[in-house]
Amino acid sequence: MADAHVEVRDLCVTVRGPDGAPLRIVDDISFDVARGQMLALIGESGSGKTTIALSLMGHGRGGAAISGDIRVGDATLDGVGARSLAAQRGHRITYVAQSAAAAFNPSRRVIDQVIEPALIHRTASPATARQRAVELFRALALPNPETIGSRYPHELSGGQLQRLMAAMALITKPDLVIFDEPTTALDVTTQVEVLQAFRRVVREQGATGVYVSHDLAVVAQMADHILVLNRGRVREQNDVRTILEAPTDDYTKTLMAAAHPVVAVAAPAARAPEPLLAIHGIFAGYGPVDKAGRPANPVLSDVSLTIGRGAAVGVIGESGSGKSTVARVVAGLLAPTAGQVTLDGEALAQTVSGRTREQLRRVQIVFQNADVALNPAHNVGDILGRVLRFYHGVSGAEAGRRVAQLLDLIRLPAGVADRRCGELSGGQKQRVNLARALAAEPDVILCDEVTSALDTVVRGAILDLLADLRRELGLAYLFISHDIATVKALCDDIVVLYKGTRVESGRCESYSTAPFHPYTDLLISSVPEMRTDWLADESFRNSAPFAGMNEQPALCRFLPRCPVAISGRCDTIAPPLQSMAAGNIILCHRTEEELAR
């Protein structure tokens, strides 16, 4: 490519491995980026995508050694005969980090940090830089562009900080902007807004970019070209359309398939199973409880749901929706301030200490992060053996036999029993985490974001395993997730939580076509689709009539964000529960016909 603005040849990055020996984490990578184009680096964790992006700034984390030829504009890696990449940092080459909340200095005002690159590289006077910052804030659709900069990072939301970081990256009118998973830490409805802002501003500025992501659908909206990476090597490299429509590499195909989890379940969909576990009108929260029985930080208000024997119920919601609190209440780890949990019609005590061992055995909980869910001091055999001894009084050779059975059930070799959890991979750990719950031979497993910390391909395998176990053992699941695709793949019934209230519940099928609750609608439409024109299509103009209003517990919690709120109704009385024709129940003032539109 003659007009290649970024040129990378034979890039290798080497770090010191855990044993002290050199370990090559990026191996012989070459690519070009033309001026004004966006290249996406895509891959799972450990693919080397961030490492490659950082090496474009001449930066190696933890003393990583970079070799090969890199040229950005007239700057090269070693800077011989021209300028070096390192000298271009923050000036001609800029960076948008994954977690803006952590990448902003907590003790300095945002505006000072945004204009800092312009000041240290002397590309503008403080006054001009401020002015340009405000223009960028406006272009990025930030609220109150004139004054938002005078805030401190902790006063701003994750989505706002991510956009402010983009402003910081663009303040010097750079030749190359590197986006490093800039929306991964955000909720899906926030991600859309941020992506739109990025896309618009990148087009306006005509910036050249490198976009690092694990999410093909996100990348499809942002990039012109895609480079698929796996374990530090290039698997496939082409323009976006070709990759999406006709991938040639097997790994790319796996990646694309895993993005849309489809679980082959022989779901007992038709027959209505007898209720096994039910939650009635739960209120719960944290902090001291006042006289009226309200905790200082209320999390759940009036949440009810029922799980039939052998059924899978999904609970979906964004961060702060209280979905994990539901699991904690059911497991007896947190006492609700009102409401009841029943098992087979029998009321369970509020906390663990009041429940019988048999009741405890029948309801098991599995946490999201297997790294901290398994005790690093014990080996797998001990962890599973403890559960067997505790609930079933099994020990010695019999316990060993049962442990081997369990490991077989979760498709791990029996030898794993002697290993410490630190020696297992992420997927293996999550399997052991599941096996610990299975060891109790429970009736229902509470799965709290069990697939969220995993890479796409591993996630698919765990979902398959969950579906198989359900079929083989007749297990019921309370499956908590932020990802609607995952929930849809596994569950029969779905409950949508927003800020601790249940805004919608119904059969899985009813989430395929309208009517939805306006929040459900936003949630579903915010999931990026794997086509290049999705972001342009969707008009996400979030013109909420009550955008400036504070949330009130007595009204619809979604009111400040709701695009279809009715003045005089939604802002005065609490919404009613309505049953739709498809059987789903929605907490909203709008009628079925209005919602169906």
């Binding site: 950082l54 700034m57 930066h59 984390r61 000298a87 271009q88 940092r89 923050g90 000036h91 800029t94 960076y95 980090a97 977690s99 952590a102 990448a103 902003f104 200095n105 907590p106 003790s107 300095r108 800092e116 690159p117 240290i120 590289h121 401190y152 902790h154 006063e155 910081m168």
Partner: protein
């Protein structure tokens, strides 16, 4: 218009600071309980001790009554606490003078010594700590690490012995006893204080430098530092503009801890150099079992420690925008 928001902006941190002050007083009260319980209630009969073995039981009883020792414990504690609060912690059993007088004579000396030591050690510690953190993992850092690591582990009396050996015995530069003449000239002052301050400084510098380094390194590992580097921020701007403001909390806490360590060091240093300070007074009070004096000294040291911690907390609150706007 700016008045009201400005007021409300300070209400959050003010409440926090008032809370800390209240907590400090509560702690000081509990400390007084502990000290009085240990030293005032449990041990043998102070009256007997003052009068010696030859005293008649009547004499002892009379003195016990005079000293209030025949009263129940809580009453004695209340009296003692009241005395402390009004600045009269009782009569020294040994010197037969009011404890307040003895302390008034000694306290300024210890404060001078501590202030001088702090004045020397804080800048030195910052220099070492910052240099070490910036050069993390390199030769300079490793050398400073081993140096400070060794310095914190040295007993004061070894440092004092070596100092006396070098400066008083071999070089004959300094006196081995810190006698401060009345109205000293600058030279006399320096000569008198040089060695005690030097000895006190060794431990404090090392300890504080290590904590400063740790505080900075903890910050250097945070993502905003890498971000700043990727913005092209230079090293000194990175340390002084980005990292240090965030490390203020841990650093001022480290300073409070190190300065309170000065009191401990002063006990040995004042004794070795026969320096007439509060710490050597306290050692004498232990030796002679002069409980009222001992209790008063202990309370002063504890109050000073709590004051330092309180100041550090306040600075940390004001330096942190999250707490400042709390």
């Amino acid at each position: 218009m700016s008045g009201a928001p400005a007021m409300s902006r300070w209400r959050g941190p003010l409440r926090l600071i008032v809370k800390r002050i209240g907590l400090a007083f509560l702690t000081l009260f509990l400390v007084s309980l502990v000290i009085f319980t240990i030293s005032g209630l449990l041990p043998g009969d102070a009256a007997q001790e003052v009068l010696g073995q030859s005293a008649t039981p009547e004499q002892v009883a009379a003195l016990r009554h005079e000293m209030g020792l025949d009263q129940p414990g809580p009453v004695r504690y209340a009296r003692w606490l009241q005395g402390i609060l009004v600045g009269d912690p009782g009569q020294s059993l040994v010197a037969n003078k009011p404890v307040a007088d003895i302390i008034a004579e000694r306290l300024p000396n210890t404060l001078t010594l501590a202030a001088l030591a702090a004045l020397v050690s804080v800048p030195l510690a910052f220099l070492i700590g910052i240099a070490s953190a910036v050069a993390r993992g390199r030769k300079l850092d490793r050398a400073l690490n081993i140096l400070t690591l060794s310095m914190v582990a040295l007993p004061e009396f070894l440092v004092a012995t070596i100092a006396v050996l070098v400066f008083a015995v071999k070089l004959l530069w300094l006196p081995s006893i810190a006698l401060i003449p009345k109205d000293p000239t600058l030279a006399e002052f320096v000569r008198a204080y040089a060695m005690p301050v030097m000895v006190l400084t060794v431990g404090v510098v090392a300890q504080l430098a290590r904590m400063v380094r740790a505080a900075i390194i903890a910050e250097l590992d945070r993502p905003y530092v890498e971000m700043a580097q990727l913005k092209g921020v230079g090293r000194s701007r990175l340390i002084f503009r980005h990292v240090l403001p965030n490390a203020v909390g841990p650093i001022v806490n480290a300073m409070a801890l190190s300065l309170s360590y000065l009191f401990g060091g002063a006990i040995i240093v004042e004794t070795i150099f026969s320096y007439p300070g509060l710490a050597s007074l306290m050692v004498n009070a232990v030796t002679s079992r002069d409980m009222p004096l001992l209790q008063a000294c202990a309370m002063i040291f504890c109050a000073a420690y709590l004051l330092l911690v309180l100041i550090a907390d306040t600075v940390a609150i004001l330096a942190n925008p999250r707490l400042r706007q709390g």
